[in-house]
Every structure is written in C-alpha cells, then in structure tokens.
Amino acid sequence: MYPNNLKYSKEHEWVDLESKKIGITHYAQESLGDVVFVELPEVGAEFEVGDSLGVVESVKAVSDVYSPVSGKVTAVNEALLDNPELINQDPYGEGWIVEMEITGGEEDLLSAEEYERLIKEE
C-alpha cells in the first residue's frame, strides 16, 4: 500500500525522488472514494511546500493537492483529465499527478513506515 521507495507528506501526497513524480496516496484515494474530476496546474508553474497545486474531486468531496516539495512543474498527467479514476486504480503508477523539478522541502518528507504510523492515528 505504501511503497518504500517513495516519500510521503502529512497531507497524503507521495513523491518519487527519482522520477520526480508526485501523486496522492492509497489512503487519500480510498478516503475520497470514486475520483471524478481533476484540476491540474500549468507546466512551468512554481510551488512552495504546502501550496495547492491542483484539485481532486470525488462524487462528494473536493480536495486540494498540496505540494509536498518546492519546485517547478515540468509535466502534468493529462490522462487524468479524461480518466480521473486512474487515481483510484493505480495511485502510485498511472495515477501520478505532476512531475516537478524539486528545489527544496525533501527533508521534511516521511518514510513509508512513518507515514503508515501517521494514518493509523487518523
């Protein structure tokens, strides 16, 4: 559920420090339910840690995607515009949201183990 090669934020995003991809966690997609709509940032947009970089909506809920790191967007997953359910089906793969050139903030991210402990408390 929480791959060891990824880093996690307290706001339930994941970051792959190798591919520089970012998405929302299994826990986040499960809490949201069926994802039906995604709003993506522009390529080139810059974000600080904690900025809202996009929005994920389920049937009932609207949820911001908070940038887990600081940096500049280098690619967005346009497949989500037509197939937002990829976030439910494959949150760490086909369901990635953005790719970023990371300029900071990695040091505060959680390991898989730390993140799992966090969600157990929620």
Partner: protein, 367 residues
Amino acid sequence: MSQLKRTPLYENHVKAGAKIVDFAGFAMPVQYTGIIEEHNTVRNQAGLFDVSHMGEIEIKGKDAGKFIQKLITNNLEKIEPEKVLYSPVCYEDGGTVDDLLVYCHNWEHFWLVVNASNTEKDLDWFNKHLKDEQVTIENISDNIALLALQGPRAQEILQLLTTFDLNEIRPFRFKSIDIAGVDCLVSRTGYTGEDGFEIYLASDKACFIWETLLEKGKGYGLAPIGLGARDTLRFEAGLPLYGHELSPEITPLEAGLGFFVDLKSEHDFIGRKALEEQRAQGIPRKKVGLEMLERGIPREGYPVQKDGKEIGYITSGSPSPTLGKHLGMALIQSSEAEIGNEVEVIIRNRAVKAQIIKTPFYKKEDK
C-alpha cells in the same frame, strides 16, 4: 463515534465493510463499494437502503386531521386511509420548517415521517402549535426501522417474501402486510426516481428482514446502498433535500414546490399569508437545474453569476452518474431562471460556463 446514535442495522453495515459517517447524529453507511457503482445498481437492478434514522411522529386523536392541516401547506383532503401525502411545513414567514410524508392510518391516526436532522425541531414546532385540539403527539422513531427497496427490480424481489399482490399498492399508497412473517407497513414511495417501496417495521425485526431481502434479492442484483448514492439518486430525480433546496430562508414556492402548497382551498395553515403574498408579488427566486458547459463540478454554495453579476448560488451539485454530466441545482433570481439561459458558476475564483436546463435531470421510462 460512540456518541452517535445507531440504527438497528449498524452492525450489519460495519460487517459489510461500509464507510460509516455522522449523518444527523446517526452513524450511517455513506457507501459500501462505491457511490457510482451503488447508484447504477439502483438505476439498473435494485438497492436496499437503511433509512431508519428518519423520524416518525405519531399524531392520534379526534382532531388529528385538523391539527395536521394547520401545520402542512398541502391539502390533507387529498388523502384518505392507506394513502401518503408529501408536504412542506412552513414558518409564519413562509420559510420551511421541514418537508415530510403524511401517512393516514385513519382519520384519527397519522404518521408524519420527517428528516432525521429535523425530528426534534419538528416535535417542538408541533407542540408549540398544539392549542385546544384533542391530539397526542409522540415520537416513535426509536421503535421503528425503515428500509427502502428501490429500483426497477424492487417489486419482483419484495414479491418473493409476501403472498400479498404488490400491484395493489399503487404510488403513494400503503398497506400493512406480512413480509417474511413480519408485520410491515409497505408504501410505494421513495427518494431515488425509481419504482420501489419503503418498509416500516419494528426495530427488533429490522436485521432479519434486511438479511432476508439481501439474500433473496442477490440473484436479481440487489445490493445494500449507502447515503452517498441516495443523494446522487435524489439529485438526478430533482427531489429537494432539506438544508439544501429547502431551509428556513427558502420558501416551498421558491423551491419549485408550488404543487404542494394549496392556496386554492380555504384551509388555513401556518405560513399561508406569507406564501400568498409571495405569490401575488412575484416569487423573487427560483430553483433551477444547471448543466456545466465547461470543465468543473458545481458544489453547494458556489455563487452563480450572469454577465459578472451575482444572481444566486448552487444548492446541490454533483457529477451525474446516469447522465455523465456535471449538474447543479441553484436558487437564482427569477428573471434569470429561463431554460437555455447561459450563466457562470464561480469555481475556485473562476467563472465557468453553465446553462439552465429543465429538472428533473432524470426520469425513469414508463413501463
């Protein structure tokens, strides 16, 4: 969630893996497998809902009819024993206290079935307006469980459990019948836009009937459905939800429920004067349906604009699983409420184009 009230079926929901949420102070299942899947199950086969949180208020006595007529905007003369009547209840100023179903057992015995979130408020309101009428008002909600069996296959499934010919229960009628050996009150009513039944029974028999229905109905595609899909189903069917399309600040006339406000007959009821005035002066706001023309989902509370000027707000909004569109209901200035009018919904500070379309969004095909 220990402080939340539970329906008799709470353990069944937990065992079935439902996601449980606080709804009107009750721990209720919002979904079992997923809102969209459950929604489609009800449209295509049949679904079973636990709606035992709904309030049942029993009004008994010589003046029961007279007393109820004073409270409701609809005309109680439209019903008779074994009939059900939908009606708003209004404040003196025409704002809405609640919307409810009146079940007439006989002229001296009625049930009022009310929104769970309003049960206590309604009881206070009814008691406050009890003057010299000879009636008793009793909250019997805790003794009664309510199951809704809804969908095109609902009748086939329920018929498996009773020898009573369900064709005899026409829409907005009810009968007290035997379902799998249990005394039930069964009405052909619902909140989904599909054919179906609502089944009232003693709380201690609820688990047995719930389990029996699910087991017998399995081969017909029957599944338990949570409150999430209940909301998307009622939304597509254009049915109002108290707290959204109706509230103390919204009159039934504004909400498009004029059909259930009887200003033709001589009956007096609380709020009549205000509603007559509103109708005479022109209803300032109207409930409309909206379809998004650009990307975005309208949500409750989002402002609605016309040419940059605010004209109202979204009361309910959702993706429509049946129609595959993003739809909303909005309360807007009557002058802008024409079908086809292009407006903008403000979604996260952006004006997103939408068009006024007719409601209900979804209507089942007549058999």
